[in-house]
Subunit: 279 residues, 4 copies
């Protein structure tokens, strides 16, 4: 399945500010790129690319005062299949986990594993370790937390979500991640593209999306406590311990977002790809 | 100056549990090792060594039920000089920081940079960026927070320290780190050996110590909001975003510490080194 | 000055629910009433009136399923003068405060006096006790906290306001109250009518308002960390330790507010009063 | 059953400080007093007695610098029966509760009813309202929270107890109170005497004790999530919304407790009462 992916972000910058964008497709999905994946920045300023400690591709620059625009769109070849599932996937004993997976068991800024460990055992201690346990976590979070864009706030943690039972995408995932880690299942926060492909009418307003991944049976698997059904066309951009590690745009100083557009569509007429350069 | 460093830790393990120790000298201090630095584990069990994403040396193993003992002592050549200081060291504009330093500006589990940013600017917004600003942070934390071993608790964050004004070593550093990051100065948590060398009588009971490092003028510098004076014989073991990344011992399940001894002494009679093998 | 005061509130009630309204004028302002002050409830149901432990007049009832409407409007004679001020008013030593004032020094649900005491002394410890200290608190809160209706959330406490620096009316007052109590000045939360009388064009959308009162020189005085200027036509409805004690409407179960109108206008043409009975 | 009750408290007072003691037997238990109940204060200073808004008897004074001693002991006639129980006691619909009981449904400083409401329904939503529901709350808290004197801290709230699962007497009661209120059952914090009467050897070190009361079937009933068994010889001193309202000693400034003795014994040899005057 061919997807058109992209974004168009505009900011008002009052004074020069250092910025980091995590807007590129994750290296693990590079094979799907049908066109180069470069962040196009207006005005033309020097960009520096690097991979952070999680392997996410980052683009750094010093934004000058004025309007800053980050945009790109490109074609991406996806399997067209829903998120892979293996309902009998087993959990590894912690002693057998890869070294670099262990850090996804620890507490992090928005995932207070230490504070929610007892609640996790109360709620899920009797479930069988493995896929079913993660699914139980997702079912619970999905059923108990109400979604609403007005419930967002930047300092909201998993414990806040547990007590307030309200949130946006990232909040659902933070709570689910925290429960999983407390239960000994490595879990990481993921962000990327998620269109409405295969979803009946009335799609949600377009934005990037957050989900999470757990490590079971030798690999990472996608879960999504917000939607809680397998979806088509999920394309990873960045993964980390929680939203503190993963942000499509970070400015170390003021930057006011004034326009925000994300594209994630199936291309049905392949003869007419609109390239980023043409837009 | 020749130091004898080491530890002797004993745990009661009720059932087999996966463990990670961060008990080795940090690679940045490897030149000082006069004897091999190996964690000696009793009973003899397979150990796996790896470096975590911060470059800290970790030792992993599956501890069997029974008594677990981790011990070692070894000679270490230190400069014998106090913590280096450069009181006119400048802060880098964020746009000029190395890529791998940027993550030490972000919020982390015990350092809610987002929540304490306003207080940091209230308190230190008028200080001059650079060494003096960090020193002002340390002076404030040192003066305002009371030390007491009974003030420790595992979930205590920088915000808790700010409101309660009580804590142990790690709490002092967490608050200072959080303020520094909020002020645009990369700061990381550090743990290691710190003896009473050069300190008049009545030394504190021996333990590992926590301090922090900030990035100024092209390198990391040691600061210590708890003691707040340059010290001799500080030997780094591990550094990370906060205590969630740095723990001399982590068990993924119950492990009861029943004995805890840390050695950090100056060797004045060099003719009689007691090697780890002899102990 | 003659005011017309009133409200018109409509709720959807799904199943019968116990309710308490604090919609009456506070007994301390009863002299201004030019018409009876009764909560008119539709449908006609039994009402019970009582004074709570703070002396606020409460109206209790069991709301049946369906639409619930609470309304009233009435004429009220006000001095027409701005909030009284006595800039040299002294603070009482705590030992000389009246017995029933002491409780307004204690921590309460949204005012964590214990947690913010150190910050209060950092910020205001050098101000002179009395009116000036309270004004310094109000100036600080007013300058540091940004107002926005979208910053409201029901569990937000003074500590949250201190860290987030955003809020609505009640949040400003909670933070100021907490600082005052920590500094030994009794402070209580107040709610009532506050129109735009004497304010130039572009008044704010009409709502009830929150302010606070402090006890200095033998009486309670009005302060308002949100507006931070003396205002005309403030009419108290209820006072208590914080918003947990004072709510114009409390339902012990679901009740969805679907219409909300508050009237607080100067009556300039006294010949045409619109009485509640006529509306 | 005849009890000897009393206390001997000594403080170091550095500079004169306003104090309030809640050391008298609650008016509801006055009938049991066999000797006058007066707080004896050394040095002899003026005392003022008053009842607070909960009806607790308070003793106010300005403590001079030096040693402050509060003491008393007296004989008290108790039923000798365990805490009354009525396992089929029903819960009142909120609409039928007495006016002055309603405030014990609201959130308070250490009882964040709003934040723990969802967890309360998760855990106890399926229990039958009434005595059994309260007992289920006590059983849960008693089983899940570990007791330890070193777990005490002054700012600890019910939510902290829920996440940390550790605490002292007051913490157990705060969590149970919060759950009860969230479930629509009025609950208040209680403090008083509780000896080891009828308890086999190895009694706990003597202190005042905290428990809680719930309103069922037209009266308040004693529950105790810490001990969770009916006890003999419980004598109420003060009740309020939580520990912020009830403290045997409050000083508005520094006062260091240096001696603390509580007496709560059965008098078996009635011929030899030791009166307070004789001690």
């Amino acid at each position: 399945m061919l997807l058109r992916l992209g974004y168009d972000l505009q900011f008002d910058i009052v004074e020069p500010v250092a910025c980091v964008a995590q807007l590129r497709v994750h290296p693990s999905r590079a094979a799907g790129l049908r066109q180069p994946d470069r962040v196009q920045v207006e005005p033309a300023i020097p960009l520096e690319e690097y991979a952070d400690s999680f392997g996410n591709l980052c683009t750094r620059f010093l934004a000058p005062a004025g309007t800053l625009r980050l945009k790109h769109d490109f074609l991406f070849e996806d399997s067209g299949l829903p998120d892979p599932a293996r309902p009998n996937a087993v959990a590894h004993p912690i002693a057998e986990l890869p070294n670099d997976v262990l850090r996804f068991l620890l507490p992090s800024r928005y995932c207070e594993v230490d504070s929610l460990a007892a609640a996790a055992f109360d709620l899920f201690g009797n479930t069988v370790p493995g896929w079913g346990r993660v699914q139980a976590v997702c079912n619970w979070v999905n059923a108990k937390v109400a979604f609403g864009y007005n419930f967002a706030r930047p300092t909201k943690t998993a414990l806040d979500v547990f007590t307030e039972r309200q949130g946006v995408c990232r909040d659902f995932q933070h709570l689910a991640i925290t429960f999983c880690r407390a239960l000994g299942i490595p879990a990481r926060y993921a962000a990327g593209y998620l269109g409405d492909i295969g979803i009946p009418p009335a799609p949600s307003p377009m934005d990037f999306s957050a989900w999470f991944e757990v490590y079971l049976e030798n690999r990472w698997w996608t879960f999504d406590a917000r939607h809680n059904v397998p979806r088509i066309g999920r394309v990873l951009m960045a993964a980390g311990r929680d939203a503190a590690d993963v942000a499509f745009f970070t400015s170390f100083g003021a930057a006011n977002l004034k326009n925000f557009l994300v594209i994630s569509d199936e291309v049905t007429d392949a003869s007419a790809p609109r390239s980023a350069a043409q837009s």
